[in-house]
Subunit: 135 residues, 2 copies
């Protein structure tokens, strides 16, 4: 894990009386609390984190990047991303569970594809996000 060079360059030291922490923190919860809309509800934050978490894996992203182009079966996917089939199958189960992909069976093969345009669009958004220049 990267570490930050512990930057501690502050010369400001006027008595910051004007903003929030005029009182000791643990006693003045109420006064502090009225200042904004509540943070993301725990429940919603949970859903968001879950969704992002499912996207936040290199191998899953590579799988999705392929499925964004074309439908593909498990074995070929495994080959394309360089994982063994069991691992791919596990990941696909995950992706299927949360409805990021759907599947259709044909003979002994199971073909996977992105669940819908919504998924595709979001995937594209992330790609473009990181493609941006001067990041």
């Amino acid at each position: 894990m990267p570490d930050l060079p512990t930057e501690r360059t502050s010369e400001i030291s006027d008595d910051g009386e004007d903003l929030c922490c005029d009182l000791p923190h643990n006693g003045s919860a109420a006064s502090t609390q009225q200042l904004q809309q509540a943070p993301l509800s725990s429940e919603k934050a949970q859903r968001m984190a879950e969704f992002l978490g499912f996207l936040a894996d290199p191998n899953r992203l590579r799988i999705l990047s392929i499925l964004a182009e074309q439908e593909m079966c498990v074995g070929d996917l495994a080959m394309a991303v360089g994982m063994n089939e069991s691992a791919v199958s596990h990941q696909l189960r995950t992706l299927r569970t949360i409805r990021l992909v759907s599947s259709r069976k044909q003979g002994r093969h199971v073909f996977y594809r992105l669940q819908d345009d919504h998924v595709f669009n979001f995937y594209q958004a992330v790609v473009e996000h990181l493609d941006e220049p001067a990041k």
Copy 2:
């Protein structure tokens, strides 16, 4: 990242519809591989996963949701999200390290805010994504 060691040596077995796996997988890579573009490079997938992974935590999202509204210091953030200050500080260090937030020091307080509009916009995109109806 291991390669698939499984050996498949068999024959064609068509069931009337031809898509990919007419041949055992490892022999027919070329025919299978007419992907328009290679899957996401490992390196890029890694970066994407890293970025998404940093977002994929309920507490970090709640912190960001607050900072999307206004600058805030550590103690107040801790109170707002219901974590102790040490945990928040750890998370903020993470967020600072990857440049999702920046900070300014004022007296004994350190105020955090979103690093830039880019971060804000992406955060909003995720929020809207999950706000969508009939998901």
